[in-house]
Every structure is written in C-alpha cells, then in structure tokens.
Amino acid sequence: MPDRGIRAGVRRLFRLPLASDANARADADDELASFLDARIESLTARGMTPPEATAEALLRLGGGETLQQVRDRLYHSATHREKRMRLHELLMDVRNDLRFGVRQLVKEPVFAVVAILTLALGIGANTAIFTVVDTVLLRTLPVPNADRLVEIGDPAAVNGDMRGGQMARVLSLPLYKDLRANSHHIVAGLAASGTAGQLYVRIGAKNEFEHPTGRYVSGNYFNVLGVTAERGRVFGDGEDGPPGSSPAVVISDAYWRRRFGGAANIVGSDIDFDGARLTVVGVARPGFTGDISELSTDIWLPINMKTVIQPHDGLIDDRGTSWLLLLGRLAPGVTLARARTEFTSLMRTSLVANSQSPGEAEQFRHEPISVTSGASGFSAVRHTFHAALLTLQVGVALLLLIVCTNIANLLLARAVKRAPEMSLRLALGAHRTRIVRQLMTESAIVAILGAVAGLGFAWWGGQALVASATDGSGIASATIDLKVLAFTVAVAILAMLGFGLAPALRASGVNLAAPIQSAGRTLVSSGRGGRIPIGRVLVPMQVALSLVLLMGTALLTRSLRNVDNGDPGLDRDHILTVDVDVAQRGVKGDRFFALARDISTRIANLPGVQAVTYSQNGLFRANDSNALVTVPGFAGQSHEDSTLRYDLVGPGYVRGIGGRLLRGRDIGSNDDAHAPSVAVVNETMERFYFKGQSAVGKVFYFEPGVPTTIVGVASDVRDHSLTGPQRRRAYAPYAQQLDAADQPALTLEIRTTGDPSLLSKSVKAAIASVDANLPLVGVAPLSQRMHDSISEQRLVVVLAIGFGFAALLLAAVGLYGVMSCSVAMRTSEIGLRSALGAQQRDLLGLVLRDGLRLVAFGIAAGVPLALIAARALGSQLHGVPATDPVSMAVALAVLLVCAIAASFIPALRASRIPPAVALGRGR
C-alpha cells in the first residue's frame, strides 16, 4: 500500500502514484476505527465498562444516523477528494512534462530543429497534396444532402456535344424527357444540364463581347439541387416550355458581385446574347457555383433558349444530338445501386426503341450506361487527375514514414544517452507508463510544432498545386478547411505515435542495473547488446522506402522523357499556331472561307514560311469533334467502334503540319462545297476499319446518304494529347461543311523554316493587313502548346523528384546517425583492435561492412516493394515497363552511393582513433 504520508511535492518529483478509490475508502475505515478506539478508551477511563463504552462510542459516532450512513458520507468525500487530486496531479504532470520536454528540446537544438523541420516537410507535403485531393476528388457540391444526388452520363463529358446518332455517354433532350417521364419511382426530380462553354454576351451599353461561362439547364435544375435564389427567383416549370419561350437567365452570386458590383436592380435587367435579349430573373444563393466541381458557372440559361442563342447548333429535340448530363435526387429509400439498375434499363429501352437499324438496336442492348453518385458533381479533370493525385498522396505518405523513422532514430540515439537518467527514475520507483508519458510528451511537442509549420507550408504549397492542377484558371480554390485540418491533426498524431512510441518504450525499458554500473566498463562491447537493435531495423526500413520512392521517381522521369521526346508525327519545332476569333467579328459562311484564304495567302508570302494551313479545332487544344460513322462492310461491337474523331481542315493540311502522307493525296483547294465529299484518314483508322487493305478510294458515311470518299492516308499524328491511345481520325475539308462554318472557329497552322516564335510579329501584321480588327486569341509555337499539354505529368515528376531526394537525404542522415552512434559505442573495442595490430584499412572495412549490411537488408526488402509500387504506377507510365531495369539500376546506384558516403565518414573517424585514446576513454 502506498504510503499516504509522502508529501505531494515529493510524490510528484518521483512520479509516485496516488491512492485508488479502494485505498481511499480503506483509509476512511482505518480512521473511523482509530477514532472509536480512542473514544472507548476515554469512556472507559471515566468508569464505563468496556461493552457500555463500545455501545456509547458507536452511538455517538452514528449521531442521528446509522454508522453506515456516516461511513458512506465519509467515503463519498474521500473518493471525491482523491479523484480531484488525481485530476490535479494529471494537469500538473502534463504541465511539468511540457516544461521538461521543452527544456530537453532546447538543450539539444540541433535535434529539435532537424526533427521539427523534417516533420514539417512531411506533414506539409501530406497536407498540401491532401488539399488538392480534397478539392479535386473529395469535395461535395454545396447543396443540401448532396449524397442523395445521382449522375447519369459520363461525369467527365461536361462539354460533350455528340452528333450523328443516339448516345448514352451524353444524352439528347428527347432521351432526357423519356427518362424524366418514367423515373418518378426512382428520383424525386431529374434535371438536365449541358454545355459549359464561353458565351458571347454584351452587357449594358457596351458594344464589346464578354465571355462568361454559361450552362443550359432544365427548369427543375435548381429545385432538384435544392438551390434557392438570393434575389428574384430560380427557374421553374415555366422554363421547360417550347423552344424560345422563356427568355430568362439566373446568374451566380459571384458573377453578380464581380460583373455587376452587386447592383440592387439586377433582377429585371437584360443581357444581350449576340442578338437575343434575355432577362435576369434571379441570383442564385451565395456559394453555389454550378454542378461542375472545377468550373464555376456564371449564367444559367433555360435549355429551350439554346435554339435562339446558338441557332447554328441545330435542333435541340433531335435524338441524334447528345449534349446533356442528368442530375437526379434519389427518392426516399432508393439506393444508388437500384437507381443504376433502373436507369440502365430505362435508357436502353428508350435507345433501342428509337434505334435506326436492328444492328444498332443490338448495340444499345449492351451499351454501358454510367449512373454514379452525384455528390461531387461533374468534373472533366477528376478522372484525369485521379491516378496522379493518388500517386502523389502515396508518395508523400511514404516520405512521412521515412521522416518518422528518421526522428525515431534520432530519439533512439538520445535514449541511449539518457539511459542513466531513466534507470535512476525507475530505481526511485517511477512507473514505466509515467516515463513513457514523459517521453511521448516530448514527441508531442515535436509533432505539434511540426504540424503547425507543416500547415503553413501546405497552405502556401496547396494554392500553387491547385492552380497548376486546374491549368491556372484559379477557378477551383484550395482552401484549408476543417476537413484538411482534421487530416493534418490525424497525420500528426499518427506520426507522433510512429516515431515516438518505440523509442519511448525502449528507453523506459532499460535494464535497471546496467547504466548505473557504467563505471565498471568493459573494453569490448558485449556483442550486439551495445548497439541499438531498433535503429538497426529502422535504417533498412528507410532504405527500403527510399528505394520505392527513388524507383517511382526514376520511372516517372523516364516516362516523361519518352512522352516529351517521342515522335508526335508532325513538325513540332517549326509550327506557329494562331487562334483567330472570327465569331466575334460575325464572319460567317462564304465570307469566312474568303477570309481564311486571304490570310493564308498573305502569310504564305512571308519570308521564312514553308506552308500555311488552318483547321477548326487546332492542335493540342481541348476542342475535338466526334462523329458516329458508318463504314460499309464493318460491323462494330459497340458505339465506341463507330466513333471517329475528326477535324475540319484547310487545303494542304497534312503537309502544313509536317505530317507524312502514306498513300493518296492531301486535302486540296478544289475540295469545296461543289466537289464530292472527301476525307484524309490516319493509319489507325485505316487499320481498324479496313484490316490491312488500303483505305484510299474506300467510302464511309458521316451522314446517311452522303458518301465520303477517302482520298489519302496520313501517318498517325499526336495532335491532341501526347499520352493516351492513338485515336482513329479523319480530316475533312472545311469548305465541304458549311453548317459548321455558320459560327466557325479558325486556327492557323504556319510551318516555318526557322524558330516559329520569331515569325509571330510578321504573322500578326499580315493578319491585321487583311482585317485590322480581327482579335487574335492565342499566338504560340506548337512546341509550347505540346509542352503545356503535359504540365500535369511534369508537375507529378517534379514533385516526385523532390520527394525522392528528400527521402534519400533522410535515409542518408539516418544511416549516418546510426553508424556514428555505433562507432561511438565501440570506441574501446576499436581501440583494442587497433592496439592488437589491426590496420586502418581493416577498421575502415569493419565499420563500412557493418553499415552496408544494414543497407543490403534494406535493399533486399525494398526491391520487391519497389516493383509492387511500380506496377501500381502502371497507367501513369508511357513507354516504360514497370519492371524497367534502367530505372531500377539508377535508383539502386543513387541509393548505394549515398549509403556508402553516409557510413564512410563514421568509418573513417573510427579508423583514426588512436588506440591509447580509445582504451583510455572507455565508453
């Protein structure tokens, strides 16, 4: 039983435990007994007989109550008092621990700074990447019960616009109406939205076009999402009427504030959409920026106004024009799985019922239908960044693990130094848990400081990362919210347990006798007992983790080089691209072709220009066109098989971009509206549809009844993306597609003899000489655009290199620390060996071998891990196998060089210890 006589201060000093509740009660009982004895004695002294005295004493002690009641009350007071004292002691302990911990850290500033800074790096990197993961992958739409939303259609097809046949990836308006009419048992409401492009609007008296982001939505859109109006009203069923019947728009709160300065009279004012005037009927409530996670919508327009605002886009009630994505709110009790089953069958039924042929109907019966949770809204980038972000998140987690092992190592080294202190405390009766708590408090201080510094680092880094992840559009902003904070706290706690617990347990488990006996030294440390077993596990662990990160870094770097240096099939270094905003000048139809011809001729005459051509979508832009084509003699398995990407191009296109014509001829200037429809196709298209036969002279159909003859086959060109599979592609003469020229887009491709950027000035002048008012949206060398198109891969690689080297450095520091410590502890052994005639070289080898053995263990564990990790990278690697021997060799070589360097310095120091000093110094 602990002696209650010890003073509180003494008890705290020696970390002695307090009484338990049971002890407190026993104390109270003892006291009562002793009181009774004294009373009986005094009563007997006054002449009572012992039985009388006992009865009297008990009566008095009972007072008006029974003795048990009094006792209970004493118990209550006693246990209560003990409880409060324990809490008080705990607070005192925590305060003392903190004070003591800070003192310990200040005593060894190098350890403290290294630990806190490396931890800040680890935690900061994790938080920064998590911020981006949160923004791009996890954040839900700011609407009530977002988890009850369901998305129908490919969530990445936010700007999809497919023609030429029915589709399931994006939906046509009639298909939406079918689903909406038949899904009342699945969803409480089903809304549609489509086209997230730039609008051409004029506001107020200004005559200049502005380009807010617009989205066409069904009348029930806001109600389904649960978004109300801050001013005016949101759309209602009135906006679902016949085409052109509801000239109304709702604008976002952000756009209202940004563009209209929050004007009070906004509701009722007009916006001019290139001729059509629509009235602002409301402002959506603050915080709602639409259904696309990375893109804020400024203006919502009713779907039925699309024919008025973009008349050239054709009929909106055509089943062959697919441009909508659906958002539904699940009816109570309906699960996502059930909604998926029901919508899949509803959609297939509608598609089959409206199919043009039995073959098409058969395809639709098996058409994959995308029905997913709508909690996060649609996103074009989520899918793209998913793999990259997860790679980075795993990478930074590994980095943090290495940081933790490193700090654990440093703590272990300190534990050795503090062993005498620990054994003294244990000898004085301190509990082991108490010592572990003290040591964990020190770890907690490091973790807290590291987390705070890491948050700062993450706040700064997260902004930059999100900016680059969303192409600097700055639309999606990374904010450190509660979720991110919680993540950081969780990471810090995990880290603290990770690096603090093992050393603390070890330090508190010292042999009581050994350190106190240290005066009686031995010359040869007792086998491995004198070294640090945990440290000898941590170093191989660090080596293994570093190898994983280095291997990943090497693979990603080589993959990027492949992508960067691969043959894109065109003359990447000699092309200048110029985007001309012809739509803004209202240039349409024949005037457009005349303009394109004039500009081309002027530029072709400039010195240094080899060839000039133009196209609708341009090179390495987001714009791309798809068509569902019919190829006689080819029966596809799915819609994807019938999908052909195409671009509308000017004369001499293949030569103009520096492509290679394999067979047949290029698009010519005679391929105009009066000539038969022709196209040039790429190799992939020829191989896929014509199975080894030449495609030249073959016919396929963009539209039923209009045959298009293939006049040439060009080699494959990487014209939209340097990664991903090569697509089937056709190049059709712009002049034969007058409907597309209604609101044409024009990108010039100018092939130069020298550096294309040198020509930009004269090209601009040439264009201005044709029409001085033509706005040039972008003038850039193609190589620049190609470079930008892989900025995401580049970002991943740059970060991976950073993580890889940080990991390497930390592993080297860890190895160095363990080797130094080991050498210091073996000083007398080394001295003895040296005295017995060991050469300097032998001693060097002795220590080096020891260090390299640790590294070898690490590599043995790391190689399989690295191969597994590399396999997981899979989809991110282009032209590099996951088992790439070069990457592995590079990673191993870098690691080995570092490891040898890290153990060489302590080894050298050991070999130079004069025997006399070593023997004399002892430990």
Binding site: R4, A28, E31, A78
Partner: protein, 109 residues
C-alpha cells in the same frame, strides 16, 4: 451546549491552527478549551474533517499517537488559514452585532 450550525468548520480550523491533531484530539481540545460548554458530535466532526479536506482547506497524513495508535493527523493548508481568518472576522462581527442587539435594555425589561 451543541454547536451552532456553520460554526463547526471554523472551530476545527481554529483548533488545528496551533498544531496538527487527529480527530479525537480535536473533540477533546474543543471540550477542554470551552470549559466543557461545547460538545461536538463525533459524527459531525468526522464529516466536517473530510469535507474540509475535500475543499482543500485541510490536509491529512497518517501518524502515531502518544499511546502508539495509528491516526490521521490534520493540519490547515494556506487556503485553510485564509479561510479561518475571513470566517473569524465574519463571525466576530456577527456575534458583536448579536450581542449589541440582545444586550440592549428593552422598554419592558
């Protein structure tokens, strides 16, 4: 004479302000010093001691009595001493006032 409600605590503190004592000593001391006029109920005293300890006005430690018995010795904490001073002042004032009123000669006396 029984002790007035609310005054036991301050009497105990006063008793202990001389030297640490155990419970039985306190009763005897109080009875002796009051010339036998005050009698402390044993139950009330024990509870008062524990209550004061709980309020951190007293601390206790085990010791050995003159005749070799184990007993819990109480002594006031600094907070206890402060409490004693404040209470003494308050009670003296009160008793003063009480005496002034009660000892006034009334018209019919």
């Amino acid at each position: 004479m029984a002790i007035l409600k609310g005054t036991l605590d301050v009497l105990v503190l006063k008793t202990l302000s001389w030297t640490p004592m155990h419970a039985f000593e306190i009763t005897t001391w109080l009875e002796d010093r009051s010339g036998g006029r005050l009698s402390v109920e044993d139950a009330a005293l024990m509870q008062a001691l524990h209550r004061l300890e709980e309020r951190q006005l007293l601390v206790a430690e085990w010791g050995i009595t003159d005749n070799g018995r184990r007993a819990r010795y109480y002594k006031p904490t600094p907070a206890g001493r402060a409490h004693l001073r404040a209470e003494t002042e308050r009670l003296t004032d009160y008793v003063d006032a009480l005496t002034t009123i009660l000892s006034r000669r009334t018209a019919d006396a």
